[in-house]
């Protein structure tokens, strides 16, 4: 059974077909890298998988369960978490509150109008633990507005990881990072246990190559090449897409 099974997924925006019959089968525990040049439809594919937009055709299954018609918010409860390429956090809140919100999203407590959230010891402890994992526990109380770009990237990952997903979708987690920060994030991703399946989008192939078990090359909404790291790198079509003929 695949962790994620996408078949014949199609999506058009007006006359523009951004996803053309994409098939994707990701095994449990796999690290899958999806590469492709700008405008290949990588983020759209993610938005379809998470349910933020609805496909015109095709189906999506999560661990054998069809979720094509499941709303985005419920897919999260089924064990799917994502990060965003364009950082999407809560700028008015502290780092700790950001991660607490991620935990709260899966808790029944989120409907409670009577308790004081700051005193929910269990949530706060778990949020701190999630921050410790990305090395941000010492600045947990800092307002998000006063953090660096690299720190925010790590908050994004901490929030997704705090939800203890079975499938983690990372949308360009290295975008805009310095070389040192990239190394930190790479180390961080390496610590994620294998019971989490990871699908990562990356525009720049070299950055995340050693992370991937298998690579899918997307171009103009279509899967061009798929295979192991070596196969994809060696394939002439990869060079064609990235370098032109």
């Amino acid at each position: 059974m695949s962790a994620l099974l996408v078949s014949g997924l199609t999506k058009s925006f007006g006359g523009l077909r951004v996803t053309k019959g994409v098939d994707l089968a990701v095994a449990p525990g796999e690290r899958r890298l999806i590469i492709g040049p700008n405008g290949a439809g990588k983020t759209t594919l993610f938005n379809l998988i998470t349910g933020e937009i609805a496909p015109d055709d095709g189906s999506i299954a999560l661990f054998g369960r069809d979720i094509t018609r499941t709303p985005c918010r419920r897919r999260v409860h089924l064990g799917m978490a994502r990060t965003y390429q364009i950082i999407t956090l809560f700028p008015r809140d502290t780092i700790l509150r950001n991660v607490t919100l991620a935990l709260l999203g899966l808790s029944k407590l989120r409907w409670n109008p009577f308790l004081a959230l700051d005193r929910e010891h269990d949530l706060v402890v778990r949020a701190r633990a999630a921050l410790a994992r990305v090395g941000l526990d010492d600045i947990a109380e800092r307002p998000l507005g006063e953090t660096s770009y690299g720190e925010r990237r790590r908050v994004e990952i901490a929030m997704a990881m705090a939800q203890e997903p079975k499938l983690l979708l990372l949308d360009e987690p290295f975008a805009g990072l310095s070389i040192d920060e990239r190394r930190d994030v790479r180390e961080l991703l390496r610590t994620i246990p294998r019971d989490v399946t990871i699908v990562m989008i990356e525009h720049n192939m070299d950055v995340a190559l050693d992370f991937a078990d298998r690579i899918t090359l997307l171009h103009f909404g279509e899967v061009i090449v798929e295979g192991t790291r070596a196969e994809v790198v060696a394939d002439p079509r990869t060079r064609e897409v990235y370098l032109g003929e």
């Binding site: 965003y84 956090l89 989120r110 409907w111 109008p113 929910e120």
Partner: protein
């Protein structure tokens, strides 16, 4: 003094002033103005739930306020008791809030504002035109005020205390809400609705429930209003009422608890006290708003807090410079 201690001291002083107000004001006229401030503060607090914490600006809340008031008046006119009238008013306002929410929450931002505005105008139209039900422009008189636990609210002082009690309950419920997980969820839907969905929240339902909560307190404020004036007319449901309460929230400071209360005080005092001396009191109110928005765009309460911190820091600063100067 720490921020929490300052706030605590401020709260104790404010409560002491409110609790003893009739004793040192003495004059019925001013006690009535205090009642008005408190009932409009309840209304402004209700709107602030949506505007401040939900990021949803409504221009139709006068409709909900009027539904509360009109239902009470109509039930009393039909010979029902006060308790039945008030419960019916709350129920009808909640039902109307649900209708408002379902229609208006199809959009956010300007779309939400325009839909609430249109719905508010429809209710105003009903109050004005459906004369068989609402008595049209002539309005409805309410001859008696209730007497909860045998205490009649017919005179100014008991009515003030009843309004104060309702106000404090409303304020406490808001204070509880903003610290709660649900309050955090609501603020999250204001700042990053897309992210909230991707974190597993039902953004629509959170907003819907917040709308009901806001509608509930708007209806309660409407009940207080109709008892205070012992009269209600279509003017109450007009756009001007919606705009006024929105200005209370914005001028006092959105997403704060004290802001809407201060805003209500400014508007009510200008309307009642300034109008006794200046015929064009609307002009004064407009000027007050312009000054607030120019110098404290975040509202009077957060703006004053900022000014206060700034003054303290300036007072503390010279000491630091002196020690720095002593170094060789």
């Amino acid at each position: 003094m720490s921020a929490a201690a300052t706030r605590g001291a401020f709260l104790v002083v404010a409560l002491a002033i409110l609790a003893t107000l009739p004793a040192w004001v003495g004059n019925t006229y001013y006690i009535n103005i205090a009642s008005q401030i408190l009932l409009f503060a309840v209304f402004a607090l209700a709107l602030n739930v949506l505007v401040g914490y939900g990021g949803l600006v409504s221009l139709g809340h006068a409709g909900l306020f009027a539904v509360g008031g009109y239902t009470t008046a109509l039930m009393l006119q039909a010979g029902q008791g006060h308790l039945a009238a008030d419960l019916a008013a709350v129920a009808v306002t909640l039902a109307m809030s649900a209708v408002f929410a379902v229609l208006a929450l199809r959009a956010t931002g300007i779309g939400f504002l325009m839909i609430t505005l249109a719905l508010g105008q429809i209710l105003w139209g009903i109050a004005y035109r459906w004369a068989n039900l609402t008595n049209g422009d002539n309005g409805i008189n309410v001859t008696t005020r209730p007497a909860p636990f045998g205490i009649t609210l017919a005179t100014a002082t008991p009515f003030y205390y009843a309004t104060l009690a309702v106000f404090l309950v409303a304020l406490a419920s808001m204070a509880l809400l903003v610290r709660s997980p649900f309050g955090a969820s609501l603020c999250g839907t204001r700042d990053q609705p897309r992210r909230m969905t991707a974190l597993g929240y039902n953004v629509w339902l959170i907003r819907f429930l917040a709308f009901l909560f806001s509608g509930f307190w708007s209806g309660v404020a409407g009940i207080l209003f109709v008892y205070y004036n012992q009269f209600i007319s279509p003017q109450v449901a007009a756009l001007q009422t919606s705009a006024e309460v929105l200005l209370m929230v914005i001028s006092g400071g959105t997403a704060t608890l004290a802001g809407p209360v201060v805003g209500a005080a400014i508007v009510v005092i200008t309307k009642n006290v300034v109008s006794a001396y200046i015929v064009r009191w609307n002009l004064v109110l407009g000027l007050v708003f312009v000054v607030i928005i120019t110098f404290m765009p975040e509202g009077l309460v957060p703006g004053s807090a900022r000014l206060w911190r700034w003054t303290w820091r300036r007072r503390a600063a010279p000491v630091k410079t002196a020690t720095a100067g002593e170094r060789p």
